[in-house]
Symmetry: C2
Subunit: 301 residues, 2 copies
Amino acid sequence: MDLKAYMSERKTLVDNFLLSAATGEDVMPSSLHRSMRYSLEAGGKRVRPVLAIAAAEAVTGKQAQDIPGLMAAACSLEFIHTYSLVHDDLPAMDDDDFRRGRPTNHKVFGEAVAILAGDALLTYAFELLADPKYSGGMDSARSVAVIREIAYAAGSMGMVGGQVVDIESEGGGEVDFATLEYIHTHKTGALILASVRTGAIAAGADGRQLDALSRFGTHAGLAFQVADDILDIIGTQEETGKDVGSDIARGKKTYPALIGLEESKLRAKELADAAVDALSIFGAEADPLREIARYIVSRNN
Amino acid sequence: MDLKAYMSERKTLVDNFLLSAATGEDVMPSSLHRSMRYSLEAGGKRVRPVLAIAAAEAVTGKQAQDIPGLMAAACSLEFIHTYSLVHDDLPAMDDDDFRRGRPTNHKVFGEAVAILAGDALLTYAFELLADPKYSGGMDSARSVAVIREIAYAAGSMGMVGGQVVDIESEGGGEVDFATLEYIHTHKTGALILASVRTGAIAAGADGRQLDALSRFGTHAGLAFQVADDILDIIGTQEETGKDVGSDIARGKKTYPALIGLEESKLRAKELADAAVDALSIFGAEADPLREIARYIVSRNN
């Protein structure tokens, strides 16, 4: 299959849905809505929504548009991912001036509006999931299950928890491997796992399918982060859009720093293989997920 | 009826549910969960959950505990209110060092953890609404309706929108009456209206009841804020827990500043009367709501 074409088509679907669901820049308060759209439009690969869509397609064999409420569920993950980037970049957190080659949100709109835009993006993720205009057609019980899944993954036991431990380990003394894995499985892994599970739940997966996809999501999520650590060292600024070695410069602990570059590459490949293995109960309809797992560890940005 | 006893009993119900639902301080990351509980435990009168409970009791004539999922819905409003206070107090926003006589969250836990604790409290509000362990028994369609209601009220078209306009109007030049009413109806009014509506929806209110309670919530929400503005001038620090005249000191526009103190008192009373009038279709089961509306404009803290 042609993964590039698959990802590009799904990304277009996501971009269209996302930007038509987001409130217009002219709606009061205009600064807030401009700030929200600024970060939503910054783009990226929309990995989380694409994973949700690919999981739902693997379960049903149907196209994304034919699965009720799937696009709202997929896009809510991107609203949450976007809010987390806006808050992570704040001076009190990572204090980043650039993201994807553009000034960060607070650099353009000021800290107060950036904090509030993040809050509103997070809140809007749940509105999208509960508004029949967007999630219409999804069974209410499924909507509630998806909301629970995403809220848990994004909260203090998931993404936010990982960010806290990441910040607390920064600059400080020794970080052991268990702490590094905690950070990775929570800060990025939890929402990636939730993306896969959200797609599966929206598509009505049975217990066996949800199990298999959960194993896929766990391995793929960790592979994604190990690959990110590797890219921080070997990627060029042009490819990654951020300074090379910026994680190391601010004392962040990474896989290569703890277990070496070659060992990290091996670990990333093992994780991608384990993700692919988890999909054995699925036929060709899960090929996009398999290719995405392989792409995660071979990408260069 | 004895409003004091009513409020105190409902507040105890809320405190018990809230603190048993909130994650324990010993759960990793402990700093995050301590920070969340620090602000949840700071207390206050739990006005929003009590309003939700009173609205649900008015609709059903039943006790709060006998209405499935009501306590989760009521407490989710307090999680959201609490997050909004944590973020409002941040240096980039109102830059407050004290709240309710205690150091603000970021003064104790640092800015990064305070931002993340706010994020996690907001996220947890939705988890609570979607987790059968807490909202169990509420019909899924009702859960989705409540989630939509709360997300809309807390988001860019509600509370967060009001906070943005408030910050942008601060210190600057003239603020006209329309802008002041926008700030008040959005920053505090939206969530108070949503509290009443949430209780009504959780209790299965019909269209006519929901309509009446929405009018009550709109008037009561605005009355609450006008009374708050008045208290900022005439309340003592002991009563309000913040510096007297602190709104004025930072150039915030208030009702008394725009229309004078006596006119503001009159307006608050008119709004409370309009709130009470909206309840004419209800019998004695709405007496707590009526008393709360009167209390809002007569309280001294």
